[in-house]
Amino acid sequence: MEGRRLPLSNLEKDLYPSYGFTKAQILEYYRRIGPLILPHLKDRAVTLKRYPEGVEKDFFFEKRCPEHRPAWVQTAEVPQDHAEPMTVCLVNDLETLIWVENLASVELHIPLAKAGSPGTPDSMVFDLDPGDEAGIPECVRVALILRDLLSGMGLASYVKTSGKKGLHVYVPLNRKETTFEDTKTFSKVVAGVMQKHYPDLVTARMAKKERDAKVFINWSQNDSSKTMVSVYSLRAGEKPFVSCPLEWRELEYPSGSGDPAWLRITHSAALIRAEERGDFFQEVLMKEQGLPHL
């Protein structure tokens, strides 16, 4: 690729055995989605969630960029508390993306800040996680209320599927003045207000036992030490679902809401959507917004 030699291995290995999806297919998915996912990964300390024996077996998180990396892989030094700085991979080009995928990094997780400005989140996120007895319809309801609540504060928001059961709502910031302290304070108050007005539907508390039939608004992801699964990343699961951007009107359209597969977007659906609609999630990288009343 681009004159760089990149030996690939174990291409026939089926990493989603109950569905049938080989590493070659994973590489092909990431190659085709590359132009859309790369801007979102750019200059961020990517955490690789690796499934060397497939998604039904053990995984491990790799934050440190593997020592055996090719010389052309870009890296960054991330300062750490009480330790030497850590060398992380920057997935800034297609070759690096293919190289990390050859390591069976089914899922790619990224911080909300770039490696060069670790204290400055480029967006604020609400991770909507339905409890065991809640499902997509409850999650959609919460997301729509949240969108309207934020819109009333003058803030545009964007939504993607988690690729599992939940939804992720992003508020683009892209201002160097905004800190994680700001996004944490703001998102926590938002979650609290949501919980207060919809106590049967929403919880802002981490405790599993409080979730049940409610949707947990996880505001605590707004932290320099946390990562979110990247938009367009595959998720480990029974099928190769994708954390895929949605248009808000798709959530308002109730026709599919009775179907448990509604809003679960597979690799092939994600590629078709990408081809037809392009990356409407790139607004998250570009739109500048300030958080009011802080």
Binding site: M153, G192, H293
Partner: protein
């Protein structure tokens, strides 16, 4: 850091509008305890129990009923309740001034301070001073947390206080309490007058303290020193209210969201 208010807005009368924040003026002295499970020190939660089914009732199966006669209820939904709630407001509008001595203390409910916000300091000081000199209190209507209160605004030690008042129909009529009038013997009256005069002092609340609270706090202090506290397994993050302006703006946005639904 400036004190965070539980409400912010303006206090106004005729053409004057002064930006203020509301803070509570009393910290309740009651020592409160949490209920824990003796086996693992978990914080216990309250759940609703249906004696008929002998089972816990999930929140979405809980509704409100007003008992009109034994075992007969009129149902009331959240929407219906909300429809009679007053609109939120950001002003405390003084409707009349009264003599301070006129307010019967039985009407006093909860005291707050009004703190002057940025830009209103001068007008605030002027109002405080004039109210002190004239010994007047402002009577106002004020919406806080979905309820409309009748409040008295008074001047105290260079600051404005706001006291929520009970509505007159909340006061239990004293007709049932006071005994029938009889004649008062002059001799008896003289004796009681004398006792009262002997016991009369200036009001000095600092002389009195809640003794049980003091003993309880001392006991807690001793116990903390003697033994490490037990640790609850689910140390959940505390819920703070957050910056008052942000909370108010979000509440306003939420009101509009609910209106449009």
């Amino acid at each position: 850091m400036a004190v965070q208010g539980i409400w912010s807005g303006t206090i106004s009368f005729s053409l004057v509008a002064i930006p203020v924040r509301l803070v509570t003026a009393v910290e309740p002295g009651r020592v409160s305890f949490h209920l824990l499970h003796s086996r693992d020190y978990s914080r216990l939660a309250r759940r609703m129990f249906c004696p008929e089914e002998k089972a816990m009732v999930p929140p979405d199966e809980i509704i409100r009923g007003y008992e009109i006669m034994p075992d007969k209820y009129v149902l009331m939904t959240d929407e219906e309740l909300e429809s009679v709630s007053p609109d939120r407001s950001r002003t405390i509008e003084i409707i009349e001034f009264i003599d301070l001595g006129e307010v019967d203390p039985i009407y006093y409910d909860h005291p707050y301070y009004l703190i002057s916000s940025k830009g209103g300091e001068k007008a605030y000081q002027l109002l405080v001073e004039v109210m002190r000199r004239t010994n007047k209190a402002g009577l106002a209507k004020f919406v806080l947390a979905e309820r409309e209160y009748l409040v008295a605004v008074t001047s105290r030690d260079g600051a404005l206080t706001l006291i929520t008042l009970h509505y007159s129909d909340e006061i239990v009529p004293d007709g049932d309490i006071s005994p029938k009038k009889g004649t008062i013997e002059a001799e008896e009256e003289g004796r009681i007058r004398k006792s009262i005069e002997l016991m009369t002092e200036d009001f000095n609340p600092g002389k009195y303290a809640d003794k049980r609270r003091k003993k309880l706090m001392d006991l807690l202090a001793t116990k903390v020193k003697e033994k490490a506290p037990v640790v609850s397994p689910a140390a959940v993050e505390e819920e703070g209210e957050g910056p008052a302006d942000l909370v108010a703006a979000l509440e306003e946005s939420m009101r509009k969201v609910k209106e449009s639904k």
